[in-house]
Structure formats: C-alpha cells, structure tokens
Amino acid sequence: MVRDYNNRHALDQKLRGTPKPANADHLEVGHWQAIATVLAHVGLETAVERALSSTPELSLRYCGPGEWLVVSEVDTPVGLMRRLDMLCGTQAHVVDQSDGRVLMRLSGPCARRILAKGIGVDLHPAAFARGGSTNVLCGHIAINLARTGEDLFELIVSRSFAESLFDDLMTMGRAFDLSAAFSD
C-alpha cells in the first residue's frame, strides 16, 4: 500500500486555527523548515565554514567549534541535505534536523525587551550584531538564537521543548501584546 503521510508541526496544537492579525511584536512560525547540523571533519572547519558562507541561500547558526545549524528558506529538508552533501559532503558530516528543531521568528520594536526576560546575553546591536548567533538558555530551555535583522531574531529549539518555549515567549511578550501565528 502506498501512503500519503502528513507532517504534524510541533506547535500544531498551539497555532492551528484562524489566523489572527499580527501585532507590532509578532512571533512567526514556519509550517515548513529545512534545518541541518553540519559537523566539519576534524581539521577542515575553516574550509567548511567558507563553503557554507558563500552560499546565499543558506544561513549559518554557530553551535560550537566546527558545528553549525544550517537553515535554508528555499530548500525542502531533502533538498537541503542534497545541497549540503554536494557543497561539503566530503568535508563534513551532515545531519537532517528539520523535524527535530522548531524555528520561531520574533520581530518587532520590543523584540529585544521580550528576549531579555529569558536570555542572559546582551542583545544590543553593538554586542550582538546582525548575523550573530549563539547557543543560549531562554529561561530553562536551550536554544540557538540568531539576529537576522535590526528587530528580527530567530530562535531554534528542540522539537520536544517547542510548546514550553512557545508558552514562555508568550508570557515574556504579554506586556507588548505579542501575537503569534504560522507564517503560511
């Protein structure tokens, strides 16, 4: 028997339903995402980083020496794996995390103030510039945080923690009327 399988998003329970209008401060969650861990072979860290950075479709999130989460907004999970294999398959190990991580995009004038309620890292542009990323705790939960714009941050969290992080973020944003929705 040939089957058609549905992929259930980790925040399906939280976000399914009629879309609400986005407020100035908004948490957007993509229904689909392509994320992979890239582990550079020992000694080839710089080469791998160079190869990854030179591809405009890919966004790199630093996780540790020679280790990145690579996010693509144009690829499917399988497509991203193929692209990464071709790009650095001989120099790095590539692991699909598209189902294991949830990406949330926080935007708005108060984004920094919202994140400051859970994150002990200075998010002033002088200290955490656009393009910066780091593994950090948000409250009790480990995430990878990246700044992708002046008032735009992306949080990547392990799937099993996604609901808890979502609840925490909504509490952190309550004073600013933070809204949330799937992006598509």
Binding site: Y5, V42, D99
Partner: protein, 985 residues
Amino acid sequence: MTAYRLSSGGLVDRSKALSFTFDGRPLRGFAGDTLASALLANDQLLVGRSFKYHRPRGIVSAGPSEPNALVTLGSGARSDPNTKATVAELYAGLTARSQNRWPSLGFDVGAVNGLLSPFLGAGFYYKTFMWPRQLWEKLYEPVIRRAAGLGRAGLERDPESYEKSWAFCDLLVVGGGPAGLMAALTAGRAGLRVILADEDFRLGGSLLSETETVDGGAAPAFAERVVAELQSLENVTLLSRTTVFGWYDDNVFGAVERVQKHVAEPSAKLPTERVWRIAAKRALLATGAEERPLVFGGNDRPGVMMAGAIGTYAHRHGVSAGKSVAIFTSGSSGYRTARSLSAKGVTVSTIIDSRPEASDAVPHGVRVIRSGSIVDTKGRQRLSGIVVERSGFEELIACDALGMSGGWSPVVHLACQRGARPVWSDALKAFAAPDVGDTLRVVGAANGVYTLAGCLRDGAEKAAAIAAELGFNAAAAPLPVTETEAEPSFAALWYVPGAKSKAFVDFQNDVHTKDLGLALREGFGHVEHAKRYTTSGMATDQGKLSNINAVGILAGMRGVSPAEVGTTTFRPFYTPVSFGALAGTSRDVHATPTRKSPLHEWGKKHGATFVDSGLWFRSAWFPRAGEKTWRESVDREVLNVRANVGLCDVSTLGKIEVFGPDAAEFLNRLYCNAILKLPVGKARYGLMLREDGFVFDDGTVSRLADDHFFVTTTTAMAGAVMSHMDYCAQVLWPDLKVRFCSVSDQWAQMAIAGPNAREVLQQLVDEDISETAFPFLSARATALRGGINARLFRISFSGELAFELAVPAGYGEAVADQIMEAGRAHKICAYGVEALNVLRLEKGLLTHAEFDGRVTPDDAGLGRMFSAQKPDFIGKHLSARYGLTAADRMQIVGLKPVDKDKDIRAGAHLLKEGMKPSTLNDQGWVSSAGYSPVLGHHIALAFLKSGRERYGEKVAVWDKLRDHEVIAEVCDPVFVDPENKKLKA
C-alpha cells in the same frame, strides 16, 4: 503630639486626594504621599507593636531603613506582611493593618512582656534550650514563637505574577539623588549605556527634601529637569521603584522593581514585581548616607524620629510631625534640620546639643541646650515631653516630636557584599566603603561627601572618569550652581549615659544597651557573637540604623576603637525580596519545562493516561471501555503483545549520531563491551560504565556505515551521556577523529512488538524484513512506501519478535496511524510504559531501577559483556578492585512469591527466613516488581548476596515502610521464554 498636614508645600498633589484605611479606619492622603507620610498627616502616630516587649512604636524614618513602621498591606491572599510604611506608595483603596498586637493596636495583651523583661534579656531564648528540657516543646517553643514576631505569612496561593529580566549597561548608577543624577547625566550625555535605579517612586533622593537652591531654583525642580533630560536620552534607562539588592560575580547586580505594588487593580499584562539581573561594566554607588539615631532612655516612644525624616516629611510631603518639635543632636545636621523646619513654619522649641560648643547658626526663637542629654521621655502611646539633663540638673520639656541626629553613616552595603569589609574612617567617624576596584565605585554621601555641591561634583567627575576609561568622550559640563554650605560635622555619641528607662539600640528586635552589656559579660563580645546573642541587627531591617551604635557601644565597653570591633558581614539582600519575585515565572506548571513526544497527540487520540517521566510526558497505559483499574489495561496490553502485536512510543530515548574515521574506536572505549568490529547493518546492546566501574547507562549501538554509528541512551540519561561523550572527546581523547550530535528530537521512534509484528510492518515497507533477510539485531536506513526516510532496527525490549521504526518526528503520528490501521486485522494494540515495564520484567531485562549507581555488570548478570580483552575502556581498571569482584556481592535474581496470591513490592529488603531484620542480616533488596499476567502471579527482580548460587532458596521479603512481609523463592531473573525462542522467530 499632634502631627498635621501643612497648609501648603511639598511634592504631593493636593488636588488628588486618595482614600485608604489603617486598621479599618478610613483616612485620606494625597498622591505623592507614602503610607507613612499619610499616616502622619492623619496624626496616626502609633503604627505597630515591637517584636519582643510589644511596646508601642511609631514611624522613625522616611525611607528603607525603617525599623518600626511595618504593616501588612492588602488582605487575604493578596496581603503583604512586614511592608515598610515609609516606602509604601499611597494609592486609592490601599488597606493597611498593624502587626504583632492583640486584640488591638491601642490595647495589646502582649505588652505584659514588657513587665517580664527582667527575665527576657538577651540570650533568654537560647537558655530555654538548656533547662528544663521538658518545658521546651510544650511551653517555651509554642508560647515564645507566638508572642514574638511581626506580620503573619499567608497560606493562600499568591495570586500575583512575577518575572525576571536581564539588562546590560556600561554604567549602573545605584541611587537617584544629587550624585547619582549628575553621574547618570554626565555618562548619558557622553553616550554610555546607563541604567539608573532608585528605590523611590520619584527620582531625586535628598533633592526632594532639600531647601537649598540649585541653579537659582528649587532643588526638586532641578531634579525634575535632569530626569526629563535623562528620559529623553535613548541610551539611558531609568528604573524607579527599583531596589538594587545584591552585587554578584562579574559585576552582575540583582534588583527588584515594584512594577505594580502601588496600584489597587493590577494589570494582567504586567508582573507585580520584576527581578532585574543587571550586568554592568561599571557601577557607581550613589546610595547616600543614613542619619544615626541616638541611644537614650525612652528613645522608642512614638514621636521620636530621625531629625532628617522630620525634615523630609515637612518638605517633601508637606506634613509636620508635631506642633512643637525638639531636636537632639550631636552635630551640625540637627541645626540644619531645625533651620529648614523653622523656614517651613514648623515650630522648633529646643535644640539639645550633646557638644559643649558649636558654631552652628540657630534659627530665631529656638532655645539651645549645650552639653545636654535626654535621659527619658514622657507620654503613653505618643510623646508628650522629654527629660533633659545638663550638669546634673533635670528639666522636663514639653514637646510632641523629637528629632534625633547622631551624625551620618554612608550606605555602603552593596560594596561589601562580596567579601570586602567596610573600613573605619576616623575623619568620617563612620565605616566607609572598601576599595573594591574599578568596577564598583562609591560616590556622593555614600563616599562621605555631605554637601550638595560636593555630591553633584563627585557624581559628575566619577562618571566622566568612567566614560573616559570605557573609551567615551565625556565633555565637561558646567556644574550646577549651589549655595555655599559648610561641611557638616558631628561628635560620635554611641549612647547617652544616665538613661532612666530602656535605651533601645535595635528598635525592631527590641535590643537595648543592657543586652549588649550582658552579651559582653557572657563572653559574646565579638561583634558577630553579640549580634547573634542579642539579635541586634538581625531583624528585617538588618540594623540599617542600629548596627553602627551597637558597634560603638561594644567598642566603648571593650575600650577599643570601632575599627577594632569591625562590622558584621554584609550579604544580599539589602532589603527583603519576596520569594515570588525570586521565583519569577518559574512556578506551577512553569517550574520546569515540559517535553512532549512527537507521538503525544497520537497517544491522546488513543486515550492514553500520561505519566511524568523527568521532563517528559509519556503514555503510561491506554484504558479501554470497561477497564476499571490501570492493572486491567496493563494486563490486557501485555497479553496482547505476547499473543498478537502492540505499538509503543519509545521516542523519548536519547539518540546520538556518531561520525568519523575513529568513531568505532571512540565507542569501543566508551562501552565496556566490544563495538570495534560491529558489522555495518548490525545493532548491538551496549553497556557504559563510569570510571569507577559501576554501570552508567545502557542502550543500543547500530552501525549504519563504516564511519557512521547511531547510538541510543535511556530517556533519563540522554543528557548525561551526551555530556559524557563531549568530555571524553574533548578532554580524554582529543586525538580521535570523531564528531557527534544529538538527534533525539529528530526521530519519532516506535516499538512494534509481538508475534504478528512482521506482518504488520511489512505492509509499510518494500524491503524484505523476513527472518533471513532482516534477522535479529539488524539495523538499516530505509524508506517507507510513500517515500519517507526511516530507520529500522530489529531489537526487542519485550522478548518478542520486535522492530523499532524511526521516522522524522513530524511524520510520527501519521506513521503510527498507518501501523495501527495495518495492524487492525492482526489485533494490534497501543501499549504504554507500564506494559513495557512488565514485558521487560518478565524477561529479566534491566532499567535504571537496577542500574542505580551501585551495580557492576557482573552484579546485573551482564558479566559476559565486560570485554577484558579490550586494551582499555572507561571503567576497566577500577573494575578490578577487590570490593567489586567479591564473591558475596549482591547479584540480580528473580523472586516469586511462595504464596501465589501475595505481591512483592519494590524497595523491600531481603532476609534469610526467620532472621531478625537488621542491617547486619540484610541480604539484599527488591529493585523492580510487578504482576505478570503471563504467569498469573507477582514477580520481582532483586539484588541478593551471592544470588546466582541461591536459586530455589526461600527468602523473606521485608517491607517495613508499608508493613508488608512475604516469603519468596529465589529464581532465575528470566521468567518468560528463557530460551528466547520468540525473539528470533
């Protein structure tokens, strides 16, 4: 004494009247009042009863050092005990209640303690511990504890909400008085990221009660201008109502902001309080100085206040503390206050100066008594007069308010919280801040600079210096113009001799001079001992006013300098912080995060009952209609798996991908069994030891390619194993070429177990999964029909023919649905962790109930897995220790109750039949127990001394906790299918 609202003046908004109640009595104040100023304006002098003697007490200060005016705000679950009326901002509808009195504040039965005071001296509480012993529990403890005390903590759930926030800055300025404001302004203009925190609801500090002019205008107006400019600067954050309570490592400060303490109807969008963690490159303490009380007879009568506080109430709040005010001073500040009060129209009758001579200007019409002292006060629940002594002559002077001014103590608390002690300064006659380096500096009155001009300059200069250090260009701004002012001076006066009644040192804990004398006589003269013996400085105010006098008195009695006595230890918190604020949002369900399996919704759909398992929710069992107990559901699930097939969610297992040319070698050193030669496409059970030879964790190792492994861990140890691997790779064997990452969340993993498992699963995969093509312990990446990537393993934790299927997490539910549908004809059922546990128990398979950190592989019956041939692995060497190889170690065995109706309970101990229970006779313990529906009776796994030699022996299973004892037969731990026929079907 009659306190009253002055006809004009003050920073209160007289057009905004606010109603509030005190002990049920309706009163009115104005916006801008504190509860204390509003109480004074209503002539409510008596506000509380003291801790021990239940003496009537009134307001002493106008700030956070207040020892007496502690009240309970609000009611029911919202009540807030021990709130200082002097810092509580008045709002419409506020309700306040006095504390530690019964039946009423005016008539308090506990005041009888005052008559018993000869028996209630310092240390009496400790002496009740000694003798007679019988009285302790029945009499002393309950009676003393009820009689002494402050407000009562509520037992209802706290309805307020709290939160925490981080903040980062170049400069944190603590205190928004003249020095702090100038510092913030200078740094703010230079472009530094500045945070200015002040505990008051209005910024300005002493400027708000200052009578001198600044830049030709009123001081409060100057403060307002500076605050307005600071507000306009994007790089400056102003935090009013915020107390900086602690200084921690890396120049991180803790602060609590009272966001909604001053509103009757809090908004649900905001917390009541917010704790800030402020990481500052530099900090300036502009915390000001505290005026010292004087220790004289009857100094605790309501109406006796700090002189500066009387000034503050007059100037800032437009309230006069009395119709006729006297000032008792040991320095020039008393005169300054007298002048400012006179200018405000408050009648000052007398200044009693302890010094023989002084050049301070005396306001017109005020009598000055030099070399004078006060030896007693008169009045019942409020001051009516003072007994002044001079050269042996006593005089009763009528007055209804008395201001005390015993000099100044810089507030250096924060600077001393990380080990450095304050330093005695002979020049200041006070303890000054220690030099703690560049990151924290002290400025203004906290630095012993007491003139307004000096504070403004000190703030500006130190901020400019910090700006320069941090690479900013701070242009020198002209300092505000102030009036010429003499540096205040005072004589240290630790206590006033000749007291005719109790002279209190610590008001809040009712410690008087004689208590300190007793402490010294009984050998508790060291300042830390004296503190604990007398409780001086141990109250909620932590002796902010009193400690300096206690030190001075001890120094006097010992005949040494206060420098030699030193101070007690300063620790966070500067003022009390509620537990709620410290917990922030981490309470109730948010106390820890919750983890959900990708099959959580699938479980719900099938009616799962969930169980907390660490942070996870796991499906425990799936009750069906008619099943009344969990056992019925679990028994059915177990029997169905053994007879047909079942599906269980095992997604919570830790999963790690291991890569690299040295991956096999790396794993070979991590596990105690051989991994090196594991063939590609095969899985193996793996056992990890700790360095000390005990079992750390178990799981499976599958080789997917030469340089690619997939390992699983137990749910509980997923994080610990990952850290262990990181440690080993980075620290122990950095030469190994290996990389790994967690994929625990990427895969939904299902166990499909039972004789029909293959028929069910074969419907979803094209691949041949027959016994020949995919035998026991096969492992392979594959794809489901429909194109989903999957991993398939032939492993079993039930003893049945079983597979584990992993698919990308998002597809988990859809795939599980398909399996259930495909399995319908084969009588598939969902089974939970309880059934999983029974299935493994029947097979003698082990979990962390057995691997409790005291168990070696041999103890667990896994001695064959210990690969002594391997050159090295973690745990190998220490496993050879005698204790770990001794013949009488406890070994895993099975237990069956002799009487088949009886149950065995986990945690019970084992004894030889007929032996008395004792540690010496202890033979072992039960690690896991449960009912086997296959056998129809209870079974258990246990650790028993030399257990493997004792099959067939009867032992007593003794459980004192649940008062339960049965006789059981020792047997092999594998209860069902010991030949593993079903596994390899």
